[in-house]
C-alpha cells in the first residue's frame, strides 16, 4: 500500500529534478570557451555617465564525463575594466557566477577583461572553461519590470519612461559624436600640417645638401688640380 502511494510521488520528484536541472543549465545567452589562464578582452565604446552591467556564468569541462558541469564552486573569474586613459576602473575577483557594474566618467573605449583565477589547477589541467556572458550598456541595462514595481508605474507611464531613457541615450551618443569628430579633425589637421612642413623642410634640405656637395667637390678637385 505504502509502495503504491509513494511510486507516483517519486516519479514526480524525479521529473521535478529533471526540470530543475534543465532550468539551471539553460544558457544565459551567448557563450564562448577560454583556456586556463587565457585573458579575453571586450571593448565598449561608450559616452560618459553611462552605466554598463555585465553578467557572466562559468562552467568547467569535466574530462571524464566529457560534459560541462552545471556550476563549479571554487572557480573564480577576475574582471578588470580600464577606461580610455588606461586607468583601472574596476578590478575585482568574482565567483564562478557574477555580475559587475561600472559607470563611465570619460567618453571612449573602455576595455573589459576577464580571466580565470582557477583554484583547482590540477583538475583543470588541459581543460576548457565555458563562459556565458551578457553585457548591457546604457538604456539596455535598465530592468523595466523592476522599475515598474518600485515606482508603481502603469504600463503607459513605463513606456514613457522607456522612451525618455532612449532619448537620453541618443543625446549622450550625439554629444560623444561631437567630441569624437573634434578629435578626428585635430588628427587630420595635424597630418596636414606635418605633411606641409616636412615637404618644405625636405626640399630645403635637398637644395642645401646639393649646394654643399657641389662646393665640397669643387674645392676637392681644385685641390687635386684637376679643375
Amino acid at each position: 500500500m505504502a509502495g503504491v502511494g509513494l511510486g507516483p510521488l517519486r516519479a514526480m520528484g524525479r521529473q521535478a529534478l529533471v526540470l530543475l536541472a534543465l532550468c539551471a543549465t539553460g544558457a544565459r545567452g551567448l557563450y564562448f570557451h577560454i583556456g586556463e589562464t587565457e585573458k579575453r578582452c571586450f571593448i565598449e565604446e561608450i559616452p560618459d555617465e553611462t552605466m554598463v552591467i555585465g553578467n557572466y556564468r562559468t562552467q568547467m569541462w569535466d574530462k571524464q564525463k566529457e560534459v560541462f558541469l552545471p556550476s563549479t564552486p571554487g572557480l573564480g573569474m577576475h574582471v578588470e575594466v580600464k577606461d580610455p586613459d588606461g586607468k583601472v576602473v574596476l578590478s575585482r575577483q568574482y565567483g564562478s557566477e557574477g555580475r559587475f557594474t561600472f559607470t563611465s566618467h570619460t567618453p571612449g573605449d573602455h576595455q573589459i577583461c576577464l580571466h580565470s583565477n582557477s583554484t583547482r589547477m590540477a583538475l583543470f589541467a588541459g581543460g576548457k572553461l565555458r563562459v556565458h556572458l551578457d553585457i548591457q550598456v546604457g538604456e539596455h541595462a535598465n530592468n523595466y519590470p523592476e522599475i515598474a514595481a518600485k515606482d508603481k508605474l502603469t504600463e503607459l507611464q513605463l513606456r514613457a519612461r522607456q522612451l525618455l531613457d532612449q532619448v537620453e541615450q541618443i543625446q549622450k551618443e550625439q554629444d560623444y559624436q561631437r567630441y569624437r569628430e573634434e578629435r578626428f579633425r585635430l588628427t587630420s589637421e595635424s597630418t596636414n600640417q606635418r605633411v606641409l612642413w616636412w615637404s618644405i623642410a625636405q626640399t630645403v634640405i635637398l637644395i642645401l645638401t646639393g649646394i654643399w656637395q657641389m662646393r665640397h667637390l669643387k674645392s676637392f678637385f681644385e685641390a687635386k688640380k684637376l679643375v
Binding site: G5, A148, F184
Partner: protein
C-alpha cells in the same frame, strides 16, 4: 499523502512555466573584441526551432579591415561562410533547435590583430512587462503611438551605432596615416643625408686612387 501530490504538481507546473519562459526568452548580444593574428574566436548561442536570428559584424581596426566569418548549425553544417569581409549582415530562420556557433577567423593574417564588432540578435524584442504577452484587448492609440516611437528610436540608436563604428574605423586610419607620415619623413631625411654623404665620399675615393695612373698616362 493527499496534500503532497497537488503541491508537487504545482511545483512541477511552476518549474515548467519557468522553463518555458527561458525557452521563449529573446536575447541579443553586442560585443566588440580583439582578434589576435592567426587566431580564431567562436561564440555559441542556443536557438529554438523556427526562431529568426541575425548576425551583423564589422571590422573596426587592424590590417586591411577584413575578417573571415562562418556560422554553423547544431549538426555542423555551414550555413554562412564569407572570407575577407569588412562588414556584413546575415539573417537565418533556425530549422533545428540547438546550439549555433559563429566564428571569426584572422588566420590569414600574420601580423595584424583586428578589433571586430558583432551584434547577434535572437528572436523579437520581449514586451516591456512580462505579463503583457497575453493581452485581451487591443492597444489604445497612446500605447500604439508609444510602440511606434520606441521602434523609431531603436532605429535611430542602431544607425548611431553604425555611424560610430564607421567613424572609429576612419579615425583609426587617420591616426595611422599621421604616425606613418612622421616615420616616413624622419626616415627619408636620414636617408637623404646618408646618400649625399656617401655620394661625395665615393666620388672622392674614385679620384684618389686613379691619380697615379692618369699621371703616368699624361707623361
Amino acid at each position: 499523502m493527499g496534500s503532497a501530490a497537488p503541491r508537487s504538481a504545482s511545483v512541477l507546473l511552476l518549474l515548467l512555466f519557468l522553463l518555458l519562459l527561458r525557452a521563449e526568452q529573446p536575447r541579443g548580444a553586442e560585443l566588440t573584441f580583439e582578434l589576435p593574428d592567426n587566431a580564431k574566436q567562436c561564440f555559441h548561442e542556443e536557438v529554438e526551432q523556427g526562431v529568426k536570428f541575425s548576425l551583423d559584424y564589422q571590422v573596426i581596426t587592424g590590417g586591411h579591415y577584413d575578417v573571415d566569418c562562418y556560422v554553423e548549425d547544431p549538426q555542423g553544417n555551414t550555413i554562412y561562410r564569407e572570407t575577407k569581409k569588412q562588414y556584413d549582415s546575415f539573417t537565418y530562420r533556425a530549422e533545428v533547435k540547438g546550439v549555433y556557433q559563429f566564428c571569426f577567423s584572422n588566420e590569414f593574417s600574420t601580423f595584424s590583430h583586428k578589433t571586430v564588432y558583432f551584434d547577434f540578435q535572437v528572436g523579437d524584442e520581449p514586451p516591456i512587462l512580462p505579463d503583457m504577452g497575453n493581452r485581451v484587448t487591443a492597444l489604445t492609440q497612446m500605447e500604439s503611438a508609444c510602440v511606434t516611437i520606441h521602434e523609431a528610436l531603436k532605429t535611430v540608436i542602431d544607425s548611431q551605432t553604425h555611424y560610430r563604428l564607421r567613424e572609429a574605423q576612419d579615425r583609426a586610419r587617420a591616426e595611422d596615416l599621421n604616425s606613418r607620415v612622421s616615420y616616413w619623413s624622419i626616415g627619408e631625411t636620414i636617408a637623404l643625408f646618408v646618400v649625399s654623404f656617401s655620394q661625395v665620399l665615393l666620388l672622392k675615393s674614385f679620384f684618389t686612387e686613379k691619380r697615379p695612373i692618369s699621371r703616368a698616362v699624361h707623361s
